[in-house]
């Protein structure tokens, strides 16, 4: 049982993600998560704004069930399976973040500087999350996938568009962490 409560190393996490992909395909569907943003837009009536959303969302029910599972699984993990959220970071990472004003670096999964209730209710904190979300929603739809759809499914099936998309993910991620984060904090 001890293993369940310890953080899982990469050589357990990676294969279990691949097994999730295998099951998803075995059940008869393409593995990916970001299409759900579109589906939820359609359910909320986005088809009245743009023809792009005139799609039969009922065909995506399976994916919405997967999303519901993600939410339930998150609650189960956070409440019962992770007694200690410490992240074992490179001392260099800890020092860098401390230098720009982060406190208790790596003590929990999500830094208070972005995720605490106080931060979320500040204008800056709210906008950081909302705009990040907007980039995620816009970017995944424009590129046609996210980490699961492009990086894992697309690269493993040797698709060129996915290689380009992953290069894009890293261009954006590097700009964000090397330049934007130090500017924001």
């Amino acid at each position: 049982m001890d293993f369940i409560f310890q953080p899982w190393p990469y050589f357990i996490g990676g294969p279990l993600i691949a097994i999730s992909l295998l099951l998803y395909f075995y059940f008869g569907q393409n593995f990916g998560t970001s299409t759900n943003f579109e589906t939820i837009c359609t359910i909320f009536g986005a088809d009245k704004v743009s023809d792009y959303f005139k799609k039969d969302w009922k065909k995506q029910k399976f994916a919405l069930m997967f999303v519901a599972g993600l939410i339930i699984g998150g609650f189960i993990a956070s409440n019962f399976l992770i007694p200690n959220q410490t992240v074992d970071l490179n001392p260099k990472t800890v020092q860098e973040l401390t230098d720009i004003g982060f406190v208790n670096v790596g003590n929990q999964y999500f830094p208070d500087e972005i995720f605490s209730v106080d931060t979320v209710f500040s204008i800056k904190g709210f906008l950081i999350l909302l705009v990040s979300g907007l980039f995620i929603g816009f970017g995944t739809r424009y590129a046609g996938g996210c980490t699961s759809g492009h990086a894992i499914t697309g690269l493993s099936s040797l698709q060129l568009p996915s290689l380009l998309a992953v290069i894009g993910f890293f261009i954006g991620g590097i700009i964000a962490t090397w330049f934007v984060i130090p500017l924001l904090f």
């Binding site: 369940i4 953080p7 190393p9 990469y10 996490g13 990676g14 691949a18 097994i19 295998l22 099951l23 395909f25 075995y26 059940f27 008869g28 998560t33 792009y52 399976f62 999303v67 519901a68 599972g69 993600l70 939410i71 699984g73 609650f75 189960i76 993990a77 399976l81 992770i82 992240v87 970071l89 260099k92 990472t93 999964y109 999500f110 972005i114 995720f115 709210f126 999350l129 705009v131 990040s132 979300g133 980039f135 995620i136 929603g137 816009f138 970017g139 424009y142 590129a143 046609g144 980490t147 894992i152 499914t153 099936s157 998309a165 894009g168 954006g172 590097i174 700009i175 964000a176 934007v180």
Partner: protein, 137 residues
Amino acid sequence: MKNIKYLILGIFFAIVLSKSQAISWYRFYEMFKFQSFHMFGIIGGAIVISMIFMQLFKHGVIKDIHGNKIVPTPKKKGFIRTIFGGTFFGLGWGISGACAGPIFVIFGFKLLPALILLSGALLGALIYGVLSKKLPN
């Protein structure tokens, strides 16, 4: 009820991501800073093993639940679409430490931030949908 298996798979996937810390803001920060192997190991490992599965699909060794051949849908082509779209996503991912799947998993950890992230993502998808015909591919 035939979709219940996706619900269970979602729960499983969320637990895997949570337990391997692949939803932690810090893990993505250090990945983009190239200061740790952890996330490269997870994503790289998932890709390598998935490649083997893809070969088994291709040669018909593994078929789907209905006995059909498994063929992954080809991704939309286009240099600008993938590079620019990817960069936008990377920016959001790098700042918030959340990619598409984890946004939903984070609901169980940080409810309000997850709600704001999801609202942003829906708004972003809406903007894409409205502009989709005008954007270069």
